[in-house]
Amino acid sequence: MKKTAFLGALTVASIAASAAVAQDVSTVDQIKERGKLNCGVTTGLVGFAAPDANGTWNGFDVGVCRAVAAAVLGDANAVEFVPTTGKTRFTALASGEIDMLARNTTWTFSRDVDLKFEFVGVNYYDGQGFMVSKDLGASSAKELDGATVCIQTGTTTELNLADFFRANDMSYEPVPIETNAEAQQQYLAGACDVYTTDASGLAATRATFEDPAGHVLLPEIISKEPLGPLVRHGDNNWGDVVRWTLNALVSAEELGVTSANIGELGASAGDNPEINRLLGTEGNLGEMLGLDAEWAKRAIMAGGNYGELFAKNIGEDTPIALARGLNAQWTEGGLLYSPPFR
């Protein structure tokens, strides 16, 4: 009796062991089986990712998650948004708690190579800026010697800041903070003189202030922050799905495909072969990805093309009022340049 029970326990243990080791089921299959995409986002940065009064997540990064869910699952709402801080995001992705991360995350060499992640592209070209209260009277970051600076820990911000002050031979007092909301609280209470993070994040944070006009962004941009979605190493096909969903949004804008005209354009093959291939009325790009022909059509319909997402969430007509700048299409003098769909 005892012996058999023990042997039974042994077999269970060894099965568990082999199951835990061999995680060879593809991510797309796991998502389909689960019926939901687990997408890591911020803990709340209005315009990029924040829940509204009804608990529905909205924002520019959220739009990417929804587009991927629409492409893979056919439902832009089949997303489980997992709030992550600067510190927890990589652990969450590496451990498989989330399938992809879309959280204002800068593509850097060490994150790509050493942390074993795959950045699938850039959805916002940004740089690190400084915000100060107008009362402070500072007009340049070079005047910040001795200032107390609020920073989010676990970010590139922290490292850039150390380099910037060092290179300019200035001293500062870092106040490490976990989330944007806490940083905002400390900054507004005057516990720090300066808040520094990605310029887009500063604009988004400032838009939520009671008195946005009382705060200025200093002219210096001290780093390159290409922000983009990323996945884990190890499942290249899944990386391709996310990469080409993002490219589909960018290409759609370039090709003039919008959520308004996509129904018409996608109904049957038209005279622009690239639009036809993108929307699946010609060729078998979807099949090559392991999805159906209409994957990109659904992704674009989820929240519109790149330009629509931008305008709706962070563009000039929103309180955040970011100009397209570097994030304009390459045809408009910006850096957005999707590889061709063929």
């Binding site: 080791v21 074993k116 200032a147 490292l159 060092r166 007092e173 976990e178 516990a191 190890g234």
Partner: protein, 420 residues
């Protein structure tokens, strides 16, 4: 004796491992041990294999790479080009600082409140009880965050001092701001300088000769004072009269210390508003204050209960007997009750010191850069070495805890009932 059968000898059958009560417990233990070892082996090999599959073989080489980040509160000199090891050392010192400050404050609070809870004055004892229940029954994390929020929101920012809306306290020597408190710092005009140890390594540090000199003189004073006490004890033993020695005992400590301080040219550096912040003085950041207060008040509530229990554990007859012998109440307390109460108090006190030290890892909630914030926070995040950093962190806390408990156990040995 025929009713007792001799145990079978030499006829060992396998089934006896299970059915013979002489062997059964051994069998069960061995099976359990094997099971445990298999589990451990499985966990380790599974982790190693998964990490290898991810291409992240465990390695500690990252500790000697430059950290790249700055730390606000550093007890030794450090800059962002120093290694992760040195950044962790800064964090460790910060952990130890808040733990030591916390243990001292918690003990003081605990003893006072514990005694007050036994006060015959109803209001006083009720107030002490309210304090204990309030702090004991709310998670310490909430207290930390709450105190921090109060500090940030209610105290004036340095800009208020610039505009004249706030002013410094205690004859312009202390600045209380929402970023922290600046207090005067001791400076020496005839400083003896520092000795630099360990060259350029990550563990290098300076020893201040001034502090060394002061400590040496002070300790010598204390030792002399103890010798005087011993002599007074001896005289009391033999003659029954105790010579008055308190002025001698105080003098041998204070006078030489004052002389050394004067020779070194002690003066105070006062904080001054310069640019964005106060400069000069010793800066206690609000994160340190919030963490320290919250940990001490929280642990103090537990210690108060321990102290109360300890005092109650000394039977009433003891103090009555002391009273009958003519001892005054304060002597009864220090000579009769406390020595006996300490025996009950110390063991649970140790575990409260350990708890306080471990709870200090909640520091990150207010951005205090302890070892969890540096090694287990920024270093882990920037290098992606989760397994390694967490293992190191566990080893560090284990070492701190074992040190505390062995020191305290040693102290416990010295106060516990000596049965001869």
């Amino acid at each position: 004796m025929t009713s007792m059968t001799d145990p079978h000898q030499g006829q060992f059958r396998l089934s006896m491992l299970l059915y013979d009560s002489r062997y059964r417990s051994m069998t069960i233990q061995i099976v359990a041990l094997i099971g445990f070892l298999i589990l451990v082996f499985w966990l380790i090999s599974n982790t190693a294999q998964n990490l290898a599959e991810l291409g992240k073989e465990p390695s500690f080489g990252f500790m000697s790479e430059p950290a790249g980040y700055d730390i606000n509160q550093r007890l030794l000199e450090y800059n962002s080009q120093d290694t992760h090891l040195r950044a962790s050392l800064m964090g460790l010192l910060n952990t130890l600082l808040v733990a030591v400050m916390g243990c001292i404050a918690a003990t003081i609070i605990g003893v006072i409140v514990g005694v007050l809870r036994l006060s015959p004055n109803w209001i006083v004892s009720r107030l002490a009880a309210v304090y204990v229940e309030m702090f004991r029954n709310v998670p310490v994390l909430l207290w930390i965050v709450f105190i921090m929020a109060v500090l940030i929101e209610t105290l004036p920012a340095p800009s208020a001092f610039r505009k004249g809306e706030a002013s410094m306290a205690l004859w312009d020597s202390v600045a209380i701001t929402n970023r922290g408190v600046y207090i005067p710092e001791p400076l020496f005009s005839n400083s003896l300088g520092n000795i630099h140890l360990l060259g350029q390594s990550s563990l290098r540090f300076d020893v201040s000769l001034d502090l060394l000199a002061i400590a040496a003189v002070f300790l010598a004073g204390i030792l002399t004072s103890m010798l005087i006490k011993r002599r007074a004890d001896a005289i009391q033993e033999s003659t029954g009269d105790r010579p008055a020695t308190w002025y001698w005992r105080l003098g041998v400590v204070v006078i030489p210390t004052v002389i050394v301080l004067t020779i070194l040219g002690l003066h105070w550096g006062y904080p001054e508003l310069k640019g964005f912040n106060f400069k000069g003085g010793t800066y206690m950041r609000n994160s340190l204050i919030a963490l320290w207060l919250a940990l001490s008040l929280y642990t103090g509530a537990f210690i108060a209960e321990i102290v109360r229990a300890g005092i109650l554990a000394v039977s009433k007859g003891q103090s009555e007997a002391a009273g009958a012998l003519g001892l005054r109440p304060n002597r009864t307390m220090s000579l009769v009750i406390l020595p006996q109460a300490l025996r009950v108090i110390i063991p649970p006190l140790i575990s409260n010191y350990l708890n306080l030290t471990k709870n200090s890892s909640l520091a990150i909630a207010v951005g205090y850069m302890d070892i969890t914030g540096t090694l287990g926070g920024i270093t882990m995040n920037q290098t992606g070495r989760e397994l390694e950093t967490v293992l190191l962190l566990m080893a560090v806390y284990l070492a701190i805890s074992l040190t505390i408990s062995s020191v305290m156990n040693w102290y416990n040995e010295s106060v516990k009932l000596k049965e001869r």
